[in-house]
């Protein structure tokens, strides 16, 4: 008898606080599996943010710091500059990274901090009850866009595309956790991002389109279809930056 699938040692035994069907749990597991498989669990430092994933410090089986809202890339900068040999990653949602923390993520990327950012984009503020996020889609109904998002409250912010313009960074990819192949692809992307950091190539960010079935008022299964069929129209998947393939200047 051989094991096909069992829980990774990269996660602690603390049960996730996420709502039933929330794909945060899948993304957590992928990150933890990658840390374990790369053999870097013991020298990794998790930087948790504020939002649904605020308890990430309880879930990843690593040293961890919990950051003020939006400041995870600055906290990660402080940690990584002191410990360049350790693996430092932030785990941030769209409100944390793309709204209140927009300055910190842009400047951490622009300094090409040798950190990895796991950016979970579910186009809504889940923790606070489903308000509009900077990544909320046009016409998407939230508790603060009751008639659907219109241009007057901004366009869905495309962070991967924006971050990819930074001069020196190593890797940016947008994935989704919506079906078997996309989950496996997300894991490969996360692995690549951590490998960039291990090779001292610099800043890497993986954006993962994720579900918020409660906030979206859909079933967990319908939410996966919403990611695949609707979110990807606004947020196309793909590699936006891979410095390895570029000519050196």
């Amino acid at each position: 008898m051989s094991t096909v699938f069992k829980k990774t040692g990269g996660l602690t035994d603390t049960p996730f606080s996420y709502c039933p069907g929330c794909t945060h749990g899948i993304i957590h597991r992928l990150v933890a599996e990658v840390l374990e498989e790369l053999g870097i669990l013991d020298r990794s430092i998790t930087i948790a943010s504020v939002g649904c994933s605020v308890f990430a410090y309880d879930y990843f089986n690593t040293d961890a710091l919990q950051s003020p809202h939006g400041r995870a890339p600055a906290v990660a900068t402080g940690v990584k500059r002191m410990h360049p040999d350790k693996i430092v990653f932030t785990y941030q949602g769209d409100g944390d990274l793309a709204s209140i923390g927009a300055a910190e993520i842009i400047h951490a990327a622009n300094r090409n901090e040798n950190i990895t950012v796991i950016f979970v984009n579910n186009a809504i503020y889940g923790m606070t009850g489903g308000q509009m996020a900077p990544t909320t889609l046009y016409n998407q109904v939230t508790t603060t866009t009751p008639l659907g998002r219109e241009a007057i409250s901004g366009a869905p912010l495309k962070m991967s595309e924006m971050i990819a313009t930074m001069e020196h960074i190593a890797y940016v990819e947008r994935c989704m956790a919506a079906d078997g192949p996309s989950i496996m692809k997300t894991k490969r992307a996360i692995r690549k991002a951590f490998e960039c950091q291990m090779n001292n190539e610099g800043f890497s960010m993986i954006e993962v389109l994720s579900s918020c079935n409660i906030g979206w008022k859909l079933s967990p299964v319908e939410s996966l279809n919403y990611i695949k069929n609707t979110m990807t129209q606004t947020f196309p998947l793909g590699v936006f930056r891979e410095r390895k393939n570029e000519t050196n200047h």
Partner: protein
Amino acid sequence: MSKVEFLKGNEAIAKAALNYGLEAFFGYPITPQNELIETMSNIMPANGRVFVQAESEIAAINMVYGAAGAGARVMTSSSSVGIALKQEGISFCAGSELPCVIVSVSRSGPGLGGILPAQSDYHQSVYGGGNGDYRVIVLAPASVQEAVDDVGKAFVLAEKYRNPTMVLLDGAIAQMMASVKLPTEPLPYPDNTSWAASGAAKERGSRNVINSLYLDPTKLYAHNQKLHAKYREIAKNEAWLIDHQPESHDGAIIAYGTSAKIALGAVQRLKDEHGLNVKCIQLRTLWPFPKQALKEAIKGMKFALVAEMSMGQLFQDVLAFTRTDTVIGYVGKAGGEIITSDDIVLGYLAQMGGEQIEHSV
């Protein structure tokens, strides 16, 4: 061993911090502390230490939070408006019990205010603007040399109590040049940083988490009680003032920082020109406030005058904390002008023998 150099206050603080064994500095430009970050940008990398010019004061204090949480000796500096932006991060450092040093070079306010010296950030420093029941140790130097010495003391206190510690000076001290003795040896590093999230879970055998989130109210209350017990300990051990003329006197000037330096001249003039026997009491820590020592120092006096470059912030606290028969007077100005010995002498003469006023305004 120490060596003497002729330096601007900001430069002296930077060089002293390096020599005390600073491992990382994160800052952002703001007048009047610019020479501090400029000096750091030079001497930190040259000595193999970490320097980052952050994108904002908010980012800088969060880099401090990260580096301190990872076990480093770390510092940031800023001024009034910038310190306002750092308050969230300072609250996080206090809540997570992280040692760090914040140098606050205050200018005048409110709002953008002006760039000339003031002491209007007394409340900001002592009472903070961050959320929650937390305390920051605040040292108040009155000269460049005291600023240099206080930076060392700040590292010691921050690491001893695992608490953010502030050195509060005004722009006058930061911008003036003086001959100062700089430290030449690093301070001993703390024996125990086993709490730090340094990515060494394997060596340690367990993982470390730096966190200030406690959703369970009983746990948060216990955490607050633990912090409070520490603050009581700090208040007991570290409250500090200098009674410049400890022998008995008829009256006193109570001041800190630049105002205390001016007050030293004013008490001499009160003696020489008016035959009044008045002492200068210089507050060296603003939190913990040296309540007991101040009460002792003004015991039996009919009158003591608070001199400050703010609009009664210190006066109000002195009044609240002393509660004696001594009438407490107030003289202050805030806006960038430095208080003069004339202000203090005239204020003393006008108010001595008067009734207790309750408010400065």
